[in-house]
């Protein structure tokens, strides 16, 4: 029964996010159809590595071995480049509409097997099944569809110029979005008529090798796409191979620099998509609730293993307390745990090595005087996990505001004026992405001009579309992926 509101001593209001209605485990049960051992994919066939060596791929959610992956040596990389070079003539001579047919076929086969691929991606990389199911796999298929559409319209992609393929392209991709990054790299290269030698990341090779099965089913001519698996040495062999007309790399800035040094003075073309330390800027007139959701999506999506993650929150001082209080409440309902559970929001950190890097940087944050907040949550005993983490009272000189953590860790800084926000946002060697939250349209336009970042999201974050070019400024790299611009990075203009 309602009572009149008269008593002045106010009860201390707080929310209870308890276990009154605890969800039962809801594991995704689709069969990922894994093989115990994966060979290299060269010339349209699975072949044993000439090194004779294999390495284990581990499920980061429980540290169990999933499969053995072939370790490619230089001779294997040579063989892959030779197969690609043989395939290049007939492949590039095909009419665009014929190449488009293969890409459509790949996209549809991937959609047919979407659940299987989502589970494989989650087991191999640790990301929540919700994301691999709703984002990674559908987006990968969307990239094949999009570029299939371009394949027969290449005459119109660069008005006033004719385009032709470059030749054999070497590609190295990271472990954060294994299948999606592969689609970003393969689809435009193939649509333009190039052939590919690609190396997936050491910890996440499986979906690439499963995609090789789809390439076989699609009848893609042998050698057009070749997958060589392995670690850094294999990657260096792919990037430095004399047969490469172009190399495309996505990964850390440190490795990107090494590749650029290696290729300096050659005529090999390069595109680099490297690290980031994106600023997500919240003004006092922003829709606060949705901004908080965007901040959460910006840093905790894929456990923060996102090069364009909004890892620095710049919040306008008048609303800083409100935003931080709302963020803390929001973090309390994030579900951390088994990536295969359909209700998991934050899955496993990709590897033990990455986990220790995150721990190291978080310890540095605490040591340097930033204030740490982690919601109460219990982590699984086995596997690599890290709770969602906020740091308040962070300044530009803190390491956690400068270095890419690549984990679920948000550094919160404040600002007073628009100019200060722009200055702080740009005060980083990186420039991949940024976010702006405000109700004022003119401010969005000004910020998008002045922020030195390849992508500026307004009142949203981490939105992607195959038609929208993605890439960086400064030490975040050069070249674009997606859209017309991304396609032209795989073409020679004449």
């Amino acid at each position: 029964m309602p009572s009149r509101r008269t008593s002045p001593p106010r009860p201390r209001a707080s929310l209870i996010f308890g276990d009154l209605w605890e969800f039962d485990p809801a594991p995704e049960t689709a069969d990922p159809k894994l093989k115990p051992r994966y060979d290299l994919f060269i010339g349209g066939r699975f072949v044993a590595p000439r090194t004779g060596r294999y390495f284990d791929s581990v499920n980061p959610a429980n540290e169990r071995k999933i499969a053995e992956i072939a370790l490619a040596g230089e001779a294997d990389v040579d063989a892959a480049y030779a197969a690609a070079a043989r395939a290049f003539g007939p492949w590039s001579a095909l009419p665009g509409r014929e190449r488009g047919k293969y890409l459509y076929r790949i996209a549809r086969l991937l959609q047919d097997r979407a659940r299987e691929f989502a589970v494989a991606e989650t087991i191999d990389g640790g990301k929540p099944i919700r994301e691999s199911r709703d984002f990674d796999v559908p987006m990968a298929a969307a990239h094949f569809f999009y570029h299939a559409g371009w394949a027969d319209k290449l005459a119109y992609v660069a008005p006033g110029a004719a385009v032709s393929p470059l030749g054999v392209v070497g590609q190295v991709i990271p472990w954060n979005f294994p299948l999606l990054m592969l689609a970003w790299k393969l689809a435009p290269a193939l649509a333009m008529g190039n052939c590919v030698v690609l190396k997936p990341a050491e910890t996440t090779s499986i979906t690439a090798l499963k995609l090789a099965e789809i390439l076989q089913d699609a009848g893609l001519p042998p050698g057009v796409v070749n997958f060589v698996t392995g670690a850094a040495d294999t990657g260096a062999a792919v990037m430095g191979h004399p047969g490469a007309a172009k190399v495309a790399f996505t990964g850390s800035t440190e490795v990107g620099k090494r590749i650029m040094r290696q290729l300096a003075g050659t005529d090999t073309r390069m595109t680099m998509e490297l690290g980031g330390k994106a600023a997500n800027i919240v003004f006092d007139d922003a829709p606060i609730e949705q901004a908080v959701e965007g901040i959460v999506n910006g840093i905790f999506f894929n456990q923060g293993h996102v090069c364009c993650a909004g890892s620095r929150l710049l919040v306008h001082e008048p609303v800083a307390d409100a935003v931080i209080a709302k963020l803390k409440n929001r973090l309390r309902v994030l579900r951390v745990g088994d990536p295969l559970d359909k209700n998991t929001d934050l899955g496993a950190i990709n590897s033990a090595e990455q986990l220790s890097r995150i721990r190291r940087l978080v310890a540095a944050g605490v040591r340097e005087g930033a204030v740490l907040y982690q919601p109460p949550c219990s982590l699984p005993g086995k596997g690599f996990y890290f709770p969602p983490t906020l740091f308040t009272r962070v300044t530009q000189s803190h390491r956690i505001a400068r270095e890419e953590i690549f984990g679920p860790v948000l550094s919160i800084l404040t600002f007073r004026t628009v100019d200060e926000a722009i200055e702080k946002a740009n005060n980083t060697p990186y420039g991949l992405s940024a976010g702006v939250w405000t109700d004022k349209g003119s401010r969005i336009l000004r910020m998008s001009t002045e922020l030195k970042a390849g992508v500026v999201w307004a009142n949203t974050f981490n939105r992607f579309d195959p038609a929208s070019p993605f890439g960086g400024y400064k030490e975040s790299g050069f070249g674009r992926e997606g859209g017309r611009q991304g396609l032209l990075d795989y073409a020679r203009l004449s």
């Binding site: 929310l15 209870i16 996010f17 209605w21 809801a26 606060i288 609730e289 959701e293």
Partner: protein, 312 residues
Amino acid sequence: MLPRDTLAAHARLLDEVGRVDQVGVEERVAKFTTRSVKKTAKLWGLRTAVSMTDLTTLEGKDTPGKIESLCRKALRPHDDPSVPPVAAVCVYPSMVRHAKSLVGGSTVKVASVATAFPSGQTHFKTRLAEVRGAVADGADEIDMVINRGAFLSGDFARVEDEIAGVVEACGAAALKVILEVSELETYDNIRKASFIAMGALRPGDFIKTSTGKTNLNATLANNQVMIEAIRDFYLDTGIAIGMKPAGGIKTAKQSLHFLIAVKETLGDAWLTRKRYRFGASSLLNDLLRQLEKERTGAYQAPYHFSDATESY
């Protein structure tokens, strides 16, 4: 106290309660629909939804006979004794006395719409008299409509004053304030109206989405804007206001999505019929059907469930 000058009132209210981004809120609620609720959690959710239902009939053709079958259904929704009674029956004022004679003494409350439901377009004096009459007839709860005309013309003070007047007239009865979200149109307006209403309410009163008489009723996004307003108001003032989405919630699955939104926005303290209700009629039998499916593993044909309600 809201200022009388409409421009100042408008600016101040928007600054005070903040804005809502349409794309963002719709993205947020889409995530609730991807939650997977199984086994015991599902049973708990379904039973809780039954206990939160305001079983409703609001038609010109309502008769004492129709009200009787509604009330019997409310007291005993299903043969299975583990299924609780619903929270309330919701009827027009002319049926309150009859409904009270049927459910009085049980846990099922009698709720009555009042204030010239659904449009509210009559003299304030008349609306107040209707509320007093329904309470005198034994209504435990009153569902009022706000003055949307006053709201849309910027006369927020009048909206608030009228709600305060109805609160007086309610006496001991709980009040549910219907914003009629489809007529307010924007999420900004829904948030503003929520705050205007809550400013006049007592702990234990409710805000409610719709009358069920327009083309768009409760949606997850409307519900989200309103429960976020309730949460912000609670954290600011310590006053806990309840929430009632009404109209358009027809399936058990939908109702679970709404409950997940409550769990993840307001927390456990709102997962009770004291603070959360569903205004619905056909929802009840779908909840029962799902409960039977969980118990027996098979779906029963609709005619296995007594069907006293179909409108709304």
